[in-house]
């Protein structure tokens, strides 16, 4: 039965498996060395302790927003960083406000934050109202969080995770009351607004590096090293591919149309096309418009 399947192209599978392999291998390595692999300093992260310190001095709450994405690795990652923030805040008995948009994220946040207070030995300081579900609609959420910011005059704020348009509403509102902000959005479109309005910004996957840097858990450190290997692999592939592509561009083949002449390769005859977008088997739609 030819032509019933999409040709997958082996490269995608091999590349994905290779990346997964790098990550798992380095997690294994890091576990063996109990996390003593090197991670460079990430400037924005040193600001975390300072800002909590300032909030404590002023006796004002620390605001945390794990983005408005659904429950996924990004919001979980943000909550892991917030666990660290809460730990510091709990030490100084500083009030916190964690505002969620997604009910599932809210559920996880509740569990994580309560757990932090428990492990810090101050379960009585945990206020169930400090982790709040505000609204599941983007702009109602923005309005609600702005209200909290303006009324409670939060002194430090951590905006981390998947932010969309509301990023600037929150950041400028915080700026107008002079709060220190540490921010990061995995959405590249929002990073410029954080860069413009916030004090410290984590760019791109500095966000993913953050919890490895803060916690030094072997799993996270190893994974980060694995990601670095994968980045190098991507960069090398691109370089190599560019060279192969350039060589293909210089190649001449006999022209079928004009005997005795030569022509350059067509786009779909080039090697990288073959590797990255393999041809699909011929398939005639059953009843499509002709």
């Amino acid at each position: 039965m030819d032509g019933v399947y999409y040709e997958k192209g082996w490269l995608g599978v091999v590349f994905t498996l290779m990346v997964a392999g790098f990550i798992l291998l380095n997690i294994y390595r890091a576990r063996k060395t109990s996390g003593k692999l090197f991670i460079r300093r990430i400037p924005g992260l040193n600001a975390i302790d300072d800002s909590i310190g300032r909030a404590t001095e002023m006796g004002k709450p620390v605001l945390m927003v794990p983005g408005i994405g659904t429950l996924n690795a990004i919001s979980v990652q943000a909550l892991q960083i917030f666990a660290y923030v809460t730990k510091t805040a709990a030490k100084f008995a500083n009030p916190i406000r964690l505002c969620c948009l997604d009910p599932a994220v809210y559920t996880v946040a509740q569990e994580i934050i309560r757990d932090v207070y428990q492990t810090e030995g101050v379960p009585e300081n945990y206020d169930p109202d400090s982790v709040r579900f505000i609204s599941d609609r983007q702009f109602a959420f923005a309005a609600g969080v702005s209200g909290i910011i303006l009324r409670e005059r939060t002194a430090a704020a951590f905006l981390m995770g998947e932010f969309f348009a509301e990023s600037l509403i929150l950041a400028e509102t915080l700026n107008s009351i002079g709060a220190i902000q540490v921010a990061c959005s995995t959405e590249i479109t929002q990073t410029p607004f954080f860069v413009a309005a916030c004090d410290y910004v984590l760019i791109g996957d500095e966000f993913y590096a953050a919890s490895a840097y803060l916690s030094r858990q072997p799993v996270l450190v190893g994974s980060l090293v694995g990601q670095d290997w994968s980045k190098l692999a991507i960069a090398a592939t691109i370089l190599l591919g560019a060279l192969v592509n350039s060589a293909d561009g210089l190649k001449r083949v006999p022209d079928e149309a004009n005997e005795g002449q030569t022509r350059a390769l067509k786009a779909d005859e080039k090697m990288i096309t073959d590797l990255f977008s393999p041809k699909k088997p011929e398939w005639k739609p059953a009843g499509g418009t002709q």
């Binding site: 019933v4 996880v108 757990d115 995995t186 990073t191 980060l224």
Partner: protein, 313 residues
């Protein structure tokens, strides 16, 4: 097992029209059979819940890990198996064999599995609404600061939910077209609250960003450091390029220098902005994107294989 193992084992996940019309996983609608089966399934589910409550502590991690693994496994299998081009191929014409069976089954199951997260999140929404209602009821009960505003919140919530369901019910009973013609009270209520207020407020909140963007740009775009200066220049060029009138004027000026000179034509605003976009902005974004993608993939792997704990101990 003539029809292939997948037709007997788990056609629930693959509710494809091609599957045998009735099998052990379904029952005709409206019959006592379906209600009984649904009831038994729910009971079984709550039985599982009871079993979990009784589960010993040491089993907790393996159990939750198993659930994560199985959930993730589905998509990993989708990734690894070849995809049928036409998953609507009738049963009789489908190729036989393990790989083919699995890949057809996976293709049939995607629309079903795709809904799981959403349905579960919907069930969990109650938890969020409960938290909201609790906070505001407490505030009203204790006459805390701003309690009248909590009353406003609770009243508008009840009003919206009531009119929402009322209108929905009317539409089910009468048919949508009739409601649009007759406009009963329910339709007015829902339209005013939702269309007239909620949606307008969302648009208003969204548009506030225009003001914030102005004040943020005014404050941040100063030639203080190399970074800020670069940011400023790139933003200025992008903004100029957004104004059709400026583009037309500028490019017209350039064209007057030499419409046929390829070198001169490189200095049209659209070419300059295009060059920045194609050769500086795109690779920059792409570099960040590679990192974010790898981060997400790595985090996905760690979660899937339960290498990283989520939540408390």
């Amino acid at each position: 097992m003539e029809a292939g193992w997948r037709h007997a084992v788990i056609p629930w996940l693959a509710q494809a029209p091609a599957a045998p019309a009735l099998n052990m996983w379904n029952a005709p609608a409206g019959t006592p059979e379906i209600w009984m089966k649904v009831g038994i399934a729910m009971l079984a589910g709550f039985g599982l819940l009871a079993a979990l409550i009784a589960a010993p502590t040491r089993l907790r991690r393996p159990i939750s890990g198993a659930f994560i693994f199985l959930a993730g496994l589905f998509w990993v299998l989708v990734f690894l198996f070849p995809k049928p081009i036409d998953s609507q191929t009738p049963h009789e014409q489908r190729p036989r064999g393990f790989v083919q069976d699995v890949s057809f089954w996976l293709a049939d199951a995607i629309p079903v599995v795709s809904n799981f997260s959403n349905i579960l999140t919907a069930f969990i929404l109650g938890l969020g609404v409960f938290s909201l209602v609790r906070i505001h009821l407490m505030r009203v009960a204790k006459k805390q600061n701003d309690w009248p505003f909590s009353v406003v919140l609770l009243v508008s919530m009840v009003a919206m939910a009531t009119f929402g369901y009322w209108d929905w019910k009317t539409r089910l009973d009468l048919g949508g077209a009739k409601v649009d013609e007759a406009w009963p009270l329910a339709a007015y209520g829902k339209d005013l609250l939702f269309d007239g207020m909620l949606q307008v407020m969302e648009a208003a909140m969204f548009s506030l960003i225009a003001f914030f963007i102005l004040s943020a740009a005014y404050r941040a775009f100063r030639i203080r450091s190399v970074e800020a200066t670069i940011l400023l220049c790139a933003a200025l060029i992008a903004m100029l390029n957004l104004m059709g009138a400026v583009v037309v004027t500028w490019d017209g000026m350039i064209e007057s220098f030499g419409k046929d000179n390829a070198f001169v034509m490189n200095f049209t605003l659209s070419s300059v902005a295009g060059f920045i976009r194609d050769n500086l902005q795109t690779p920059g974004i792409r570099a960040i994107d590679f990192g974010i993608g790898l981060g997400a993939l790595a985090m996905g792997l760690r979660l899937w294989l339960s290498l990283e704990r989520v939540g408390g101990n």
